[in-house]
């Protein structure tokens, strides 16, 4: 589904290389995790894939179902089925969460040539999905992420994911700032979306999120490259010994 080939990326302004040849293939129905120490380029990878400004791709390619991703605008990538759950979801004062969700859902439907959802249809779907994530009506009415707790913000990200039904979901440090209960709730939300037609790329610093969202494949990223790939046991190894051992072993 997602195929990244020899991806080289640098910071546009400083010309500083961040990704130095990333190769990664995520198949439909699978959950891949990317772990790595701070500064290894994990979040940059998620931003480059979703189209954030400020990065220059100097080499390589990334495709989603064969479609070249890196040429597309961020909204086109979203319409093509890519979704990034932000590490730090953005607050948008004055725009109701519900309005935001509906604008996003209908924009994507429109881009795909589908009919827009009526207010009534939309409300029905959103209420149902919000309920499983324990998001109440009050939270749907409030401005996007404004005054939300860390857990509420992350649940809101998962709600957006559930509403937009992307095929390729990237979760950037979704566990950061969450306590165990909040993490469980978020993980349940993600697990409910697992589907043979959908793939996940879970970026995390710690193993603990992977206790709840069980990965099929675990990659270790360091200094802008995937340096090791294995099964779930690789995450446990990191948990036990930290990154130093793995990095030493590669070096």
């Amino acid at each position: 589904m997602l195929e990244i080939k020899n991806l080289h990326v640098e910071l546009e302004e400083e010309g500083k290389p961040i990704l130095k040849g990333v190769n990664l293939t995520v198949e439909a129905g699978k959950v891949h995790a990317i772990m790595g120490p701070n500064g290894s380029g994990k979040s940059t990878l998620s931003y480059v894939l979703s189209g954030r400004d400020g990065y220059a791709v100097t080499e390589g390619a990334a495709t989603l179902d064969g479609e070249e991703l890196l040429e597309m605008e961020p909204e086109e990538r979203a319409a093509a089925g890519l979704f990034l759950a932000f590490q730090y979801p953005v607050e948008i004062p004055g725009v109701g969460n519900m309005t935001f969700l509906r604008t996003a859902v209908n924009a994507q439907r429109k881009a795909r040539g589908e009919e827009e959802l009526s207010a009534g249809e939309f409300l029905k779907v959103v209420r149902e999905k919000a309920k499983t994530l324990k998001i109440d009506a009050e939270m749907l009415k409030r401005p996007v992420n404004v005054g939300f707790s860390g857990g509420e913000k992350k649940r809101n990200e998962i709600l957006q994911m559930a509403m937009l039904e992307p095929r390729m979901c990237i979760l950037d440090e979704t566990d950061s700032g969450l306590d165990v209960d909040a993490m469980k709730l978020v993980a349940e939300g993600v697990n409910a979306l697992r589907d043979p037609g959908r793939a996940f790329l879970v970026i995390t610093h710690y193993q603990r999120l992977l206790d709840h969202i069980k990965p099929d494949v675990v990659h270790i990223m360091a200094d802008g490259r995937i340096v090791k790939t294995g099964g779930p046991e690789l995450a446990l190894e990191v948990e036990r010994n930290g990154y130093a051992d793995i990095l030493a072993e590669i070096a």
Binding site: S50, D53, E73, A79, L84
Partner: protein, 433 residues
């Protein structure tokens, strides 16, 4: 020593020439007030660029004897159209009886200045020009004095109960050179309530004064979308006096307009009074020059009062926004809660925002704050929206609405606020792509 004399002489000449071009009314119950206003104007003279509060806004277009010709603006879809209200229409400053509703509204007395001026006994006699006069210190507002002296039309509104529906003063402009002076006087009696809608552009050049006296426990709610005429030259003054436990709220939406100066002078005069004034102004230089100035003076003279000023400007393609806002807390006005925020969103590097926030506080137990910011569209928020599939232009429009939200929140009525948002969305949609 000669230079100041020359400037004074020039100011006197400008004032004299301006007055000579106006057919000043005589007689009627307003005659004494007009004579006093004329004397005030004679003393202060029309403003000049060197005057402290005219540094950023050149008064030349208002000082000129004749207005510049400007295209009339055809209204395609009037705002608040679906709302139940009593409408009074003025076209180029002339009352249009055929287009207006019968001025009959329970708890509200409505008269026009042109008719009432012949009737000698009128509640407005004591009020016409009074708040304008007291609003002339500490800063002179010469165009308001000119208005009091010269206005022949306007609406006199006395509210004695809770008005069942809003009163709507609707302006239209069909003449390219209409020079309109309107003076409205509003009195909300004890415990009474009124929502006043004031929409559109009165003339090619307009000078509108509204004096609002809000008595004890009364509520006045004012919503003023100023129309979308790009060639408009307009100066408005809103003078208000807010008594004990009374509430005054005013919101202005300005889209387009080559020259708009909205002044407000609010005396927060009774203990426990509330005064909120807000404005959202959007200008795109591609439609024509845009200069918008909000000059506000909030005068706290009582205990335990609250005031809020929320002014937002969205500027593009060489548009200019000005904000001059002052909170004065007089000795003894303890427990004052005064808040002022002025912000601009610059959509490119060509536009500018000039802000002068002032606080002058003579009481020791008060809470006053002010802030002013200038910024661009938040790139992170823009990316967030786009990453959810919202196209860039729509995402920007959403973020502009987000930026304006605090000002729009000052409109109490949800339906009316919805109409204002719809108007904004419309305006933004035309400028996409």
């Amino acid at each position: 020593m000669t230079a100041p004399m020359t400037r004074d002489a020039r100011r006197a000449d400008t004032t004299e020439a301006r007055l000579a071009a106006i057919d000043l009314p005589t007689g009627g119950f307003t005659a004494p007030a007009r004579a006093e206003a004329l004397a005030r104007l004679g003393t202060m003279g029309l403003p000049a660029r060197r005057d402290e509060y005219w540094r950023w806004t050149d008064p030349a277009k208002l000082n000129a004897e004749q207005p510049e010709a400007g295209a009339a603006f055809r209204v395609d879809r009037p705002i608040f159209e679906g709302r139940d209200k009593l409408r009074l229409v003025f076209e180029d400053g002339v009352f249009d009886a055929a287009a207006s509703d019968d001025p009959v509204l329970a708890g509200v007395e409505i008269a026009r200045l042109s008719e009432a001026d012949r009737a000698d006994i009128h509640w407005a006699k004591a009020q016409y020009g009074a708040l304008e006069a007291s609003g002339q210190t500490p800063v002179a507002r010469p165009f308001a004095a000119l208005n009091t002296a010269a206005a022949t039309e306007g609406v006199l509104i006395r509210v004695t109960g809770k008005a069942a529906r809003p009163l709507h003063i609707s302006y239209r402009q069909s003449e390219k050179t209409s020079d309109v002076i309107l003076h409205h006087v509003v009195r909300i009696e004890e415990g009474a309530e009124l929502t006043l809608l004031e929409t559109g552009t009165p003339g090619a050049r307009s000078n509108v004064v509204m004096e609002v006296d809000v008595a004890r426990g009364a509520r006045f709610h004012h919503i003023r979308p100023q129309g979308r005429a790009t060639d408009r030259v307009m100066v408005t003054h809103l003078f208000a006096r807010v008594a004990e436990d009374a509430t005054f709220k005013s919101f202005t939406l300005t889209t387009n307009g080559k020259f708009t100066r909205n002044e407000a002078v609010i005396e927060v005069a009774g203990d426990g009074a509330t005064a909120h004034i807000a404005g959202a102004a959007l200008g795109d230089g591609e439609d024509g020059p845009f200069h918008h100035d909000d000059t506000v003076f909030i005068d706290h003279g009582a205990v335990g009062c609250e005031s809020r000023q929320v002014f937002k400007k969205v500027l593009k393609h060489g548009a200019t926004g000005v904000f001059q806002g002052k909170i004065l807390v007089r000795p003894g006005a303890q427990k004052t809660d005064g808040y002022q925020i002025s912000q601009s969103l610059l959509l490119d590097d060509d536009s500018q925002f000039l802000a002068k926030p002032e606080l002058e506080i003579y009481a020791d137990d008060v809470k006053c704050s002010h802030g002013s910011t200038t910024g661009a569209i938040d790139e992170t928020a823009l990316f967030y929206l786009r990453s959810r599939g919202v196209p860039e232009a729509d995402a920007k429009a959403l973020l502009i609405l987000s930026f304006l939200a605090d000002a729009i929140a000052e409109i109490e009525d949800e339906d009316l606020a919805g109409d204002v948002v719809a108007r904004l969305e419309d305006w933004l949609a035309r400028r996409r792509g």
